[in-house]
Assembly symmetry: C2
Homo-oligomer: 537 residues x 2
């Protein structure tokens, strides 16, 4: 009886079209996203796009059929985000925001442990500030949003809505830093930033997004370099250990370096469609901004020097990276460590007299898991069937589902299903309700899932990076949608030629390098390092 109620046919992954039926409103939103992603219209053009896609009939596009459509469908169906009324803007819905909060909670602690304090800078920056650092203005001026009217009056000087805060940070640092005693100055802010992007994609590239930006000032180049490396290391650990994303940390090429930095370090992630995602960056800014803004200090010998600086950032784009790394046809799949809900408990009963005993058992399981620090939720709503709930929470990527029916209550056990292992294989019957056994079991499974997601992603990544020793081999690898890794010492012009001819860019010179001089695959000249080329978001 209980197994009948569990609706095994609905759970079988062989019927995705049946399973993924969605309310019409959600689909309209998903279709609208796709509409939005593929065009660049005027400032505010919402209504028309919303009504499109009504012919999609309730499915989430299978990942293998159309990765981009799958991505936007999942975002709508899992209620992660919606799009705002202004073209290119995004509303982050509670479930998507909860993932961002999990990212914040982890990083915020790490930033403080490494000596940084949070603070807040105004988002309006005088236009003249942006012009002070030459390469900075060149990089950012095409994508600025400008406030020209305030309080009903035309402003004397246009205000930039911050695209990043180096300029205003340096303006303030110049006031606060006088002596070596004031260094290092290490701060971070959690904030919104605006970049007027023409081609947008939810989480990945939006007109406004949320991020943290760290900014530090040091007495020496060495200290700044150490800081820039430390922070890319914090990001790398976060990606591996929390998000189960096996990023490749490395250095950007000159062409790809941040506008205003001497060096940019990056973590590059391979998405499910094998495109690269720049998931976080850390910049050694040298003295570029301190010279532009006159940020100086008196050193221990009484000499006046310019400070050495870094900046580093991770944004809501990372949420998109999580979706595109782990998701499958059934929807989102969240690594347990950052899942807002780790365990969903679904009670199952048919006859009225079963309800009370089932709910009693559910309540006791809830209490046991909560006390053990597991993020658990019960869905005992009677408005939805268990089958609907199974699909719904799979779509939401919750790592573990616990089912409790009348037979389970009799046996004092529960059924445990893993989100990452489809069908019967991922299902364990008869797991004891005894508190210590249950807690150990669930904790163990959460760890298994965390490890398994990372392992799967590493295998996928490694099987899609091709070592190349000629430009022809690179072209072939890129044409297959893969990453190409090969010795590189050619010019910026050659790098831009590769981009033009293949759409691939240097994602990074990975930190992990084999020793010894190699031969540049483009020029045949000696090359100290290999570079990774790939198409990217």
């Amino acid at each position: 009886m209980a197994s009948l109620l569990r609706l095994p046919s609905l759970l079988s992954p062989s019927k995705p079209l049946l399973r993924r039926r969605l309310p019409a409103a959600r689909l309209a939103a998903a279709a609208a996203y796709r509409g939005q992603a593929s065009e660049a219209v005027g400032a505010a053009a919402p209504a028309a796009a919303e009504t499109r896609g009504g012919d999609r009939e309730g499915q989430v596009t299978p990942r293998s059929v159309d990765f981009n459509a799958w991505y936007t469908d999942v975002i709508a169906a899992a209620e992660l985000a919606d799009y705002g009324p202004v073209r290119g803007t995004m509303v982050i819905r509670p479930y998507g925001y909860a993932i961002w909060e999990a990212i914040q909670d982890y990083l915020n602690v790490k930033f403080k442990e490494t000596g940084h304090s949070n603070m807040y800078f105004p988002q309006f920056i005088p236009y003249s500030f942006i012009e002070k650092e030459a390469s900075h203005v060149e990089g950012f001026s095409p994508e600025l949003a400008l406030v020209t009217i305030g309080g009903g009056k035309e402003l004397e000087e246009k205000l930039v809505v911050r695209p990043t805060s180096e300029t205003i940070v340096n303006h303030m640092f110049t006031k606060w830093i006088q002596s070596y005693r004031d260094l290092p100055l290490m701060i971070n802010q959690w904030a919104n930033v605006t970049r007027w992007e023409m081609r947008t994609k939810p989480f990945i590239r939006t007109l406004e997004f949320l991020w943290q930006e760290g900014h530090t000032a040091h007495a020496t180049l060495e200290e700044a370099e150490k800081e820039a490396m430390q922070m890319i290391d914090v990001y790398t650990k976060f990606a591996y250990e929390q998000a189960a994303i096996p990023v490749i940390p490395g250095r950007k090429s000159r062409v790809e370096t941040f506008a205003g930095a001497n060096r940019t370090y990056t973590i590059e992630a391979m998405m499910g469609d094998k495109k690269a995602l720049q998931a976080g960056t850390s910049h050694n800014l040298g003295q570029n901004f301190s010279r532009a803004f006159g940020t100086q200090f008196m050193d221990e010998n009484g000499q006046i020097e310019h400070v050495w600086q870094t900046s580093w950032a991770i944004s809501t784009r990372f949420v998109g990276g999580i979706i595109m790394t782990h998701g499958d046809d059934a929807g989102l799949m969240l690594p347990p460590r950052i899942a807002p809900i780790q365990v969903i408990v679904v009670p199952i009963w048919k006859k009225g007299d079963e309800k009370a005993t089932v709910l009693e058992a559910v309540d006791s399981v809830l209490k046991i898991l909560k006390e053990a620090g597991i993020r658990v939720k019960v869905d005992d709503s009677e408005l939805r069937t268990p089958g609907w709930k199974f699909n719904h929470y799979e779509m939401k990527g919750i790592p573990i589902r616990i089912e409790i029916g009348p037979r389970d209550v009799t046996n004092k056990s529960v059924v445990v299903s893993r989100r990452d292992v489809p069908g019967k294989q991922g299902k364990e019957f008869g797991v004891s309700m005894d508190p210590s056994i249950l807690v150990n079991h669930i904790k163990g499974r959460l760890e298994d899932i965390q490890a398994s997601l990372l392992h799967k992603a590493i295998t996928f990544r490694d099987s899609n990076i091709i070592d190349v020793s000629s430009y022809g081999e690179l072209k072939e690898a890129i044409a297959e949608g893969k990453w190409a890794r090969g010795p590189w010492s050619a010019s910026d012009a050659d790098e831009l030629k590769v981009k033009e001819e293949t759409s691939a860019t240097i994602r990074c010179y990975p930190f992990e390098q084999l020793e010894g001089t190699k031969k540049c695959f483009m020029t045949g000249n000696p090359a100290e390092e290999v570079a990774i080329f790939a198409k990217s978001y």
Copy 2:
């Protein structure tokens, strides 16, 4: 010897001018704030103001001499905030931001406990949205910042940088709400907002500020009313129990109601200069926005209805309220529950051979207090004298200072000083270093301080509210800078007349009312309620 090193003369509150000597850079910032607060200039006019006030010679203005100057001096000297390059903007420095984080940490938990989820809406709102709700546009249009250029192009429709989010929230709610099953919808966002204010004051009124804004939609008026009341109650408890601010909760008059609300509830706080501060508000929006934006749902009987809504907010203004409620001539004074640092430990030694044993004792005290969950910091810097540190941490309002010198090490005890009780009276010698005794002692003192600050604020508040029964008495009370409380049932026009003639407004009809009909002090007509009138920030 140890007592000599403690520099008692510097600690005596009788020499404020000597004690409050500050570095020149801080003073320039303080002076600049004052300059800024008293004028309204063009969009970005920072540099000139910065150099003023150089003749202030290192003191924080005594509170009794000039409350406003004292306020901005403390903000600069305690490094709470600085002002941004654009007129009216504020940089929240790490210590000021940490107080905001303490506010966030508490409220964020309470919001979740009461069923709200965090999310994020874009800050750019099409101008046409603002115009949809008649009283909303009337209230907000004079203070809007408008983006007119994006990505190098003039926009077809101007974008409003959000002054508040009711309009965009309703636009999205209309998409998400179809049925009674979708209700209640209860969300919150932590965000920056922009209001083009002409007269600004750090924390209290700035062009951009940080806040949380809750937004909810319900099936019935009763539910919405209950929610609006619940949230003003959350704010009231926070103010009393965490910030030790004895706010008066009540209902705003029609004239003072939020632009777009049917009812506005408020918590009103009395600052140290007796002016009122509106410290948080909660609005019953009725169906005003749901009618303007067509936010409808199908109820259980299949009827289509407009949703009933609320919104509620607390902002960084509350930090200003904390400063102006508890601060004194020595600077900031923080209630222990929201103090980023509750205990500062200052080691004292003179001879080199004393250093090691003192620092060892300091380290053990640090560990003991940390393990007990007390927020404690050690300042063992050798760049500053103990006397400098005493002043510095008093200025920063840290509730308890522990001093440990060679004699204390010998006696296995420490010296404990309360920030809120000046001089010898607030100082306890010979407090045992025994872990359980020390922890109990410090925890007890923190509770004492918390209670004492609230008690002091209540006494101050109650001694400065005058019950009036005629307009003459009100004028007298207001002229003395006090609050006037009296029966009121007069017209909006009368209310505006009072404002014009006395600068006082109705702060609220307090929830706490004596029963029975009274006589309106203005008209002599029957009045159901008393109202509180006061000058306000």
